[in-house]
Point group: C2
Chain length 556, copies 2
Amino acid sequence: MTSRKNRLRVIPLGGLDEVGKNMTVFEYGDDMVVIDAGLMFPDDDHPGVDLLLPDYSYILHHKEKLRGIIITHGHEDHTGALPYLLKDLGQSVPVLGTRLTLGLVKGKLEEHRIKQPKLREIRPGGHINLGQFGFDFIQMNHSIPDSVSIFVRTPVGTVLHTGDFKLDQTPIDGRSTDFAGLGRAARQGVTLLMSDSTNAESSGHTPSEAVVGEALREIFATARQRIVVACFASHIHRVQQVCDAAVASGRRVVVTGRSMINTTHIARELGYLHIDDADLIDAYDVGDMPAERVVVLCTGSQGEPLSALARIANGDHRTVTIERGDTVVISATPIPGNEKAVSRVVNRLYKAGAIVIHEAKRGVHVSGHASAEELKLMLNLIRPANFMPIHGETRHLHAHADLARSVGVSDENVFILENGRCLELSERGVKPGEHVTSGVRYVDGLAVGDLGHLVLRDRQVLSSDGLVAIVVVVDTQDGSMVGETEVLARGLVLGADTEDAIQSARVRADKVLARLSSERVTDPTVIKQALRDSLSQYLWETTRRRPMIIPIVMEV
Amino acid sequence: MTSRKNRLRVIPLGGLDEVGKNMTVFEYGDDMVVIDAGLMFPDDDHPGVDLLLPDYSYILHHKEKLRGIIITHGHEDHTGALPYLLKDLGQSVPVLGTRLTLGLVKGKLEEHRIKQPKLREIRPGGHINLGQFGFDFIQMNHSIPDSVSIFVRTPVGTVLHTGDFKLDQTPIDGRSTDFAGLGRAARQGVTLLMSDSTNAESSGHTPSEAVVGEALREIFATARQRIVVACFASHIHRVQQVCDAAVASGRRVVVTGRSMINTTHIARELGYLHIDDADLIDAYDVGDMPAERVVVLCTGSQGEPLSALARIANGDHRTVTIERGDTVVISATPIPGNEKAVSRVVNRLYKAGAIVIHEAKRGVHVSGHASAEELKLMLNLIRPANFMPIHGETRHLHAHADLARSVGVSDENVFILENGRCLELSERGVKPGEHVTSGVRYVDGLAVGDLGHLVLRDRQVLSSDGLVAIVVVVDTQDGSMVGETEVLARGLVLGADTEDAIQSARVRADKVLARLSSERVTDPTVIKQALRDSLSQYLWETTRRRPMIIPIVMEV
C-alpha cells in the first residue's frame, strides 16, 4: 500500500462549482504549497455580505508545512483572500508571483496594513523549488498582463495548473503564450491537467485583444464630442488600447475612479502601461479642455452603483458630466448577475443624451478566457494522463469534461470534483480521496468568519417579508401584564389601513396574554412562543406574508 | 387653436423604459380605449413584492369614457393587470381579444373571481368600432399564437400599434404575418407607428420557430433515456413542437407544472394544440413507463424556485426524478435578471447526472421578437409619418429610434417618451403633451397599492444590514427606568462574540439613559432619538454597518 507520505494530494478549496475564490492546495509529505488565494463577490443570496473567501482552515491547521503561496495573476478572484490568509496564518510565508502580480498584491497588502510581506518575484520561463516541489512558470495570455501557467513537479508526477488563460495569437504587448514551453514540458509527461473552464460553453475561438483596438480607433475617429470609456482597471492591455486610440485621435486621457487611478499608476511605474505625462490630464482640469480633445477612462463597467461611470450616468460625478452627443463605451461584458445593474447605467446614460456603445455592439470587448477550440488545443498539446476541469460552475466543468472526452481523454481519467475533495496522485494512479474542511468565509463589515446561514436566512426573511415586533412588559412579582402591548411593523404592508391592522394585532395578542395570565403562565419562553404563533397566524390570514416575528418580553 | 376635443391623446401608462406592464391609453373626445393591461415581475429592487402593475388611476378617473380594453396577445405582461383593473373599475367594460387570448384571460379572471366579464372575440383581419375609434386587427407572429397588431383609426389619423411581434416566414402553424393587410392599411397613410423594441439591439433576423423543431427532433432521436423539456407554458408553438418530436421518436408526453397543465388544457380545447390523448400520460404513471418512452414537459425555464424543473433538479418533484444519463432541454433564454437562477438549476441538473442542453447550445430556443432587420422592414412597409418605439428599456427604445432614422424617418418625427407622457395627434401635427399620473402599483401578498418606497427602503436596509432593537421601560410617574434594557439583533454580525457586543451596546445605551434621566428628559421621542444615535454610532464603529435601529420605549 502506498503510504500517505508518497502521495500528492491536490485539494481545491475554491473555484469549483463557482466563478471566483480560486484556491488549490498541493500537499506532498511534509510540504504544502498553495496556488492562488482568491475572493468572490457576493450575489443576491448573500444580502449585505461584502466578500466571500474560501474556508482555508485546512491550510491554517497545517501551516507548519506551508512553503509558499503562488499567485498565477493579479485578479482579485486569485489574490483577494491573500491579506486575510496571511493575517490568519500569523507567520511570514513567501508569496510568489510575476512582477505585475506582485505590484498589485503589494498595494492590497498595504491597504490591509500587512507589514513586510515576503514577496518573491517569479519570471515566466523560470523555475523555482519549494520543499520537495519544483515549479516551472509558462507565459500565458489573459485579460491582465503577466499571467502564468504552472507546471508542478512532484516525486509522483507533474501537474499543469493553467491559471486563467486564452491563446491570443496577436497579443497587443507581443508576449504570446509560450507554446514551446508548454510543449517541452508536455513531452516529459503530464499526469494531471487542471484547466480553466470559464468559457468551455463557448464554441470556436476567443477573438484576439487586438480586435478591440481597431473598434476603439474607429469609434474615436468619428466621435465629435467627449468620449468616456469604462473597463476593468486591471485590464492593462485594454487601458493601453484606450490610451493609444486617444492619442491617435488627438485626445488626452483623464483617469477617474479609485481603482483605475491606483492600477494605472502601478502599471505605469512597473512598465506595463505606456502613456506620456503630456497625454494625461487631471480630472479637475477636464472642464477647461474642449470636449473633442478628451477621453475619460473610468471604472464602473459592471454597473457598480458607487463607481465613476454610475456617478457620471447619474449626474453626480464631481468633474465629469454628460452632454447630449457624448460617446460612452462600455468595454466589458456584464458578469452573470450584473446584467440588470449594467442595464440601469446604460439606460441612464441614454437618458442623459449619450451615445452608448456596449458589448453587444461593434467589438468593444473580447473575453480573456479560452473558448472550446483553444481548450481542445490545450488538451491536445499537453496530452495529460488525467484531466480535472477547474474555475467554473458545474455546467462549465461538465462542458469542459465533454471537450476532453471529445479529444480522446478516457472517461475514467476525467475528474469533476467539489471544493474540499482531494485528488490523490501516487505511483499507483490517480483517484479522488477524502474531503477536507471547505466552504465559505464571509467578510461582512469588519467581521470575518462563518457568519452562518442563520444571519443570511434572517436577512432573506427580512428582505422579502419584513418584521413585526411585539413588546409586552410583565411584572415578575405576580406575572401580570404592565402597561400597553406595543406592536410595530417594518418592511411590511399591512393592508389599506396600517393603524387598524396594528390595532387588531394588538387586540389579538392581548387575548393571548389574558389567557396565559389566567392560566398562570409566567415563563417568558412560553409567552414568546404563544405571541409568535398567534401573530404569525393573524398576519398570514390578513397579508399572506410570513414576516419575522420578534416577541420581546420585558420583566420589571 | 385645436380644441382639446379634436386631439387624439396616446398615453403610454407602462412599457416604456421597462420590459413589462404594457398599457397604452387612446383618448379622443369623450372616448377612451386601452390597448393591453400587463404586469411586470419584480426584480431585486423590490424585495418581497409579488407583482408590479402600471398605475392606471388615469383610467379610473376617466372611466365614464372607457369604451373597451383590447388585448394584443395572451402574455402576462399584456394581460396580467386586467383582473386588478376590472375590479378597480367596478363596472363592466368590454375586453376584446382573439380566441386564444380570451381563453387565457378567462382563466385568469376566474382565478380572481371576476364574474361574467364582457369578453368580445376579435378576428385577425377583422374590424370593430368603439366610440369614435375604429380598429383593424392584423395577424402577427410571436411566441404565442393568435397575436395581433392593431390599426387604430381616429378622426385625426391612423396609429399602428404592433403589439409584440416577429416576422416568421415559416411559422409552424402556417399562419404568417399578414403582410398584405399591413401594406393595404399602410397605403392609406399611417400617422404614427408604435413598434416593439425588445430586440432592437439584436442585428439581423430572428430565426424561425421551425428551427427549434429540427433541433428537438435531432436531440429526441439520439437520447437514450428520459427527456425533460422546460419552456414557457404559453409558448403553444414550442409545446406543439415538443409533442410532435416526442410522438415522432416513439415517446409519450407527461405534462407537469400548474401553468403548463392549465395552458395546454386551454390550448387543446380551443384547437391551438394538437396531441392525441393516447400520446399523453399522467404524471403519476410516469414511473411505470420505460425511460426511453417518456418526455416530461414542464415549467421552470426561468429557474423559478418552486417550478417543476427546479423541483426535479432538487430531487423533490413528486413523480419525476433524474437518473444519470437523462436529457434535460431548457427551451428558453433567461430573461435579464434570471441568469443566476437558471444557472443554479442547470448546475443542479448536471450534479444529478443529467445531460443538459440549454439555449447557448444547439438551437433549442429562438426569440419571439423581431430583430433589427425585421424592425426596419416594418418601418419601410408602413412608412409612418411619425414613430414611437415602445416595449423596452431606454436602451432598446434608443436602438429602435436609430433604426428608424437609418431608414429615413426624420429625427423630429421620432418620439421617445416616458410612461405617463401623452403624445398628441391633431390636424396640426404630432407633439408630446402633458404628463398624467403614472407609476407603479405593487401587489404584495393580499395588498395592492402604492406600497411606497418606505417599505421597500426598509426591506433593503433590513436585507443588507439587519436590525437592532432596543427596548427600555420607563415609569411614567417619575421618568425613571424600570428593569433591564433589552438589546437584540437580527441579520447582523456583531463581531467574534455576539454576547459581548450586545452587552457593550446595552452599557452604552444605559449611559445615554442615565444622562437623559439626570437631565429629567421624559419625552419618548427624545429618548428614542438619543438611543438611535448612540447605537448607530456604536455599531458603525464596531461593524461598519448601518442596521435599522428600532428603539422601543415602553411606558408603565
